[in-house]
C-alpha cells in the first residue's frame, strides 16, 4: 500500500476524532439550552414564592429576591390555605378515581383488543370521536344531570363523571394487541377464564402502561378546576386548585401571588416525586403502546 494511503488513513482517523468531539459538544449544548428553556418557569415559580409581595409587584422583575428570602410564604401557604385538608381531598379523589378507572379501562381495553363482537369498531370509532368535542359544552348539561342524581358536594360527583378516559383505553388497547394471540388461545385451551387470563398474563405484561396511566390520571385530578368548584366546593370536598385560587386573595381582590406560588410549589412537589420514582415505568409504558399504530 502506498504511503499516500497511509497518510490518508491517519487523516481519516484524526478527522473522525474531531467529528466525534464536535457532535458531543453540539448535543450537550442543544440539550442544555432546551433544558434551560424548559426549567425557567419552574425556577421562576420557586423564586416568586420566595419574594415579598411588594418585590413581586415591582415593575422590573428580579431574578433573585432582593428584599429578603421569604420562606415564611411556605408556612403561610400551608396554614392559610389549609393545604392539609385540600391535599387530602385531592389525593383521595385522585387515588379512588384512578383505581376504579383503571379497572374499567383494563376491562374495556381487553374487550377491544381480544374479543370479537359485532359493532366493535363502530363503538371504538364513536369513543374516539368523543375526544374531538370541546369539553366545555358538557359541563352545564352534566351539572344538571348530577344535581338530579343528588350527588352535589359528595366525592361521587368528583369521581364518577371522569372515570372513562378514551385516551387511556386507546393506549392500553394498543398495548394488549401486542401480546401474541396464541397466549390467549393457549390459555383458553387449558380452560382459564377471561378474567384469570387477564389477571395472570395481560396485566403483568402491560404493567408499565398501567403505571404510566395511573400517574397521568393522578395529575389530571390535580389540575382539575372548573368542575370541582361547580359541583363540590364546600369545605369538606374542596380540591387543591380551587382552594389555591382564592385562599390568598386580600379584601380588595388582589391576590398575594408569592404565597400562592408557594402553595402551588408545595402541591406540585408530590407529583414531581411520583414522576422521579416511576420514571422508568412511564417511559416503558408509553413506548410499548405506540409501536403498532
Amino acid at each position: 500500500m502506498t504511503a499516500a494511503h497511509e497518510i490518508n488513513l491517519e487523516q481519516v482517523k484524526a478527522r473522525q476524532k474531531v467529528v466525534r468531539i464536535v457532535v458531543k459538544v453540539l448535543l450537550y449544548a442543544f440539550l442544555g439550552f432546551m433544558a434551560l428553556i424548559v426549567i425557567f418557569p419552574f425556577y421562576w415559580m420557586i423564586i416568586s414564592s420566595l419574594k415579598s409581595l411588594e418585590e413581586y409587584r415591582q415593575a422590573v422583575p428580579t431574578f433573585i429576591p432582593t428584599k429578603g428570602w421569604h420562606f415564611s410564604n411556605y408556612a403561610k401557604a400551608f396554614t392559610d390555605g389549609n393545604l392539609g385538608a385540600l391535599f387530602w381531598h385531592t389525593a383521595y379523589v385522585g387515588i379512588v378515581s384512578t383505581i376504579i378507572s383503571l379497572v374499567i379501562t383494563v376491562l374495556a381495553a381487553f374487550a377491544f383488543a381480544r374479543l370479537e363482537f359485532k359493532g366493535k369498531n363502530l363503538l371504538f370509532g364513536a369513543l374516539l370521536a368523543t375526544m374531538m368535542i370541546p369539553g366545555e359544552l358538557f359541563t352545564i348539561t352534566n351539572y344538571i344531570t348530577v344535581t338530579r342524581f343528588g350527588w352535589l358536594n359528595t366525592y361521587t360527583v368528583l369521581i364518577v363523571p371522569f372515570l372513562v378516559s378514551v385516551f387511556y383505553i386507546y393506549l392500553l388497547r394498543q398495548n394488549f394487541m401486542q401480546i401474541p394471540n396464541e397466549l390467549y388461545l393457549a390459555a383458553k385451551v387449558d380452560g382459564t377464564s377471561d378474567l384469570k387470563y387477564l389477571w395472570k398474563v395481560m396485566i403483568p405484561l402491560a404493567l408499565p402502561s398501567l403505571i404510566s396511566i395511573t400517574i397521568l390520571k393522578m395529575m389530571g385530578a390535580w389540575n382539575s378546576y372548573i368542575w370541582p368548584r361547580l359541583v363540590a366546593n364546600d369545605e369538606a370536598h374542596r380540591m387543591i386548585t380551587n382552594g389555591l385560587r382564592n385562599a390568598f386573595t386580600e379584601s380588595t381582590g388582589d391576590v398575594n401571588f408569592p404565597v400562592q406560588m408557594a402553595a402551588v410549589a408545595i402541591v406540585s412537589f408530590p407529583l414531581f416525586l411520583v414522576f422521579i420514582f416511576l420514571r422508568k415505568y412511564i417511559m416503558k409504558g408509553v413506548s410499548r403502546s405506540g409501536i403498532k399504530g
Binding site: 415593575a59 366545555e136 363523571p161 383505553i169 414531581f272 417511559m283 408509553v286 399504530g293
Partner: protein
C-alpha cells in the same frame, strides 16, 4: 375466536364504559346538538319559561359573526404552527437524549418538569419574560427576553403590550404552546425510540450512513406510527386551544387595545357561553367538531399512506 358465543361477555366488560359514556358524554352531545338548532337558546331563559324556534339561525349567526374568520384563522394558524414544531422539536430532543448516556436521567426528569408546573405559574412567567412595563422607551423594564436580545444588539420588541403587532403576539403564543406540548411528546417519542431495534442503526453505521441520513431514512420511518399518533392527537388538541391564550393575554384574548385579536374558536364558544347563549355556543362547537373531524380524517388518510407498520 367464536364470535357470537363471546360477544355477550365482551359487552359485559364494556358495560361500565358504555353506561358512563352514555350518561356523561353521549347525552350532553345530544343535548348540545339539540340546543344548537334552537335560536339563541339560553338555559336560564328556558328556566324562565322562554321558548325558542327551531332552525339554523344559530349556525348562520355564528358564521356571519364579524370576528368568526379571525377566530378560525387564529385557531388554524396556531394549530398548523405549533403541532409540527413541537413534534419535530420533541423528536430532536428525544433523539439527542437517546444518544447520550451520562446525564440522560437528569435531563429526562427536567424535560418532564413542565408537566408538573402549575398553569398559573406558566402564565406569570411568560408575562414577566415578554411584558414591557412602563413606557417602551424608558429603561425601566423591557422584559427579560428583550434584555436577552439586547445583548445581541436587537432593539427591544413590543411582544404583547399595547400596539404590538400580530406576528409578535403569534410568536409568543407559539412559544408558549410548544413549551407546554413538549414534555408529553418527548415522553412518547423517547419511549418509541427505545423500542426501535438497535441493529438497524448498526447496519446503517456499517454502511457509512451520515447522522442526518440515518435520522431521516431510518429513525423517522421507524417512529412513523408514534409520530402519526402524536400528530393526530396534537391536531385534535391544537384545534381546542384556548387556555394558553388566556394564560398569556388574559380574558382580553389579545394585547391591550386589541380585544379578541388572538381569540380562538373555543374562545368564541366561551364568549357566547359567558352571555348564557348556549344555543350559539353549541352551534359553534358543532362547527368546530366538524372541522376537527375532517382534519382528523385527512390525517388518518395521510398517515395510512406514509406510516409503516
Amino acid at each position: 375466536m367464536e364470535g357470537s358465543k363471546h360477544s355477550w361477555k365482551a359487552w359485559l366488560y364494556l358495560l361500565p364504559v358504555i353506561i358512563l359514556t352514555l350518561v356523561f358524554t353521549v347525552w350532553p352531545i345530544i343535548n348540545t346538538i339539540r340546543i344548537a338548532f334552537l335560536k339563541d337558546y339560553s338555559m336560564i331563559g328556558a328556566m324562565g319559561g322562554k321558548t325558542y324556534e327551531f332552525g339554523f339561525a344559530n349556525f348562520s349567526k355564528v358564521v356571519t359573526y364579524k370576528r368568526f374568520t379571525t377566530c378560525l384563522k387564529n385557531t388554524v394558524l396556531l394549530c398548523v404552527l405549533t403541532v409540527p414544531i413541537s413534534t419535530m422539536l420533541a423528536l430532536l430532543i428525544a433523539v439527542c437524549l437517546n444518544a447520550i448516556k451520562p446525564l440522560q436521567r437528569l435531563l429526562q426528569t427536567i424535560f418532564f418538569l413542565p408537566y408538573v408546573t402549575n398553569s398559573i405559574a406558566i402564565g406569570m412567567v411568560f408575562a414577566a419574560m415578554f411584558n414591557m412595563i412602563g413606557k417602551p422607551s424608558s429603561p425601566d423594564s423591557v422584559g427579560i427576553i428583550n434584555n436577552f436580545l439586547g445583548i445581541f444588539g436587537v432593539a427591544p420588541i413590543n411582544w404583547i403590550n399595547v400596539g404590538s403587532e400580530y406576528w409578535a403576539n403569534l410568536t409568543v403564543m407559539v412559544i408558549y404552546i410548544v413549551w407546554n406540548a413538549l414534555p408529553f411528546k418527548i415522553l412518547v417519542l423517547l419511549g418509541g425510540l427505545q423500542g426501535v431495534n438497535k441493529q438497524y442503526y448498526e447496519a446503517a453505521k456499517v454502511d457509512g450512513t451520515s447522522r442526518v441520513r440515518t435520522f431521516w431514512r431510518i429513525t423517522v420511518p421507524m417512529l412513523s406510527p408514534m409520530l402519526a399518533y402524536v400528530l393526530i392527537t396534537g391536531f385534535i388538541g391544537g384545534f381546542k386551544e384556548y387556555s394558553s391564550v388566556v394564560g398569556v393575554f388574559g380574558e382580553n384574548m389579545g394585547p391591550a387595545g386589541q380585544k379578541g385579536a388572538l381569540n380562538t374558536m373555543v374562545g368564541f364558544i366561551y364568549d357566547s357561553l359567558s352571555q348564557n347563549n348556549q344555543g350559539r355556543a353549541s352551534a359553534a362547537a358543532l362547527i368546530l367538531f366538524g372541522i376537527i373531524l375532517v382534519v382528523t380524517m385527512i390525517n388518518l388518510y395521510v398517515s395510512k399512506k406514509k406510516v409503516h407498520y
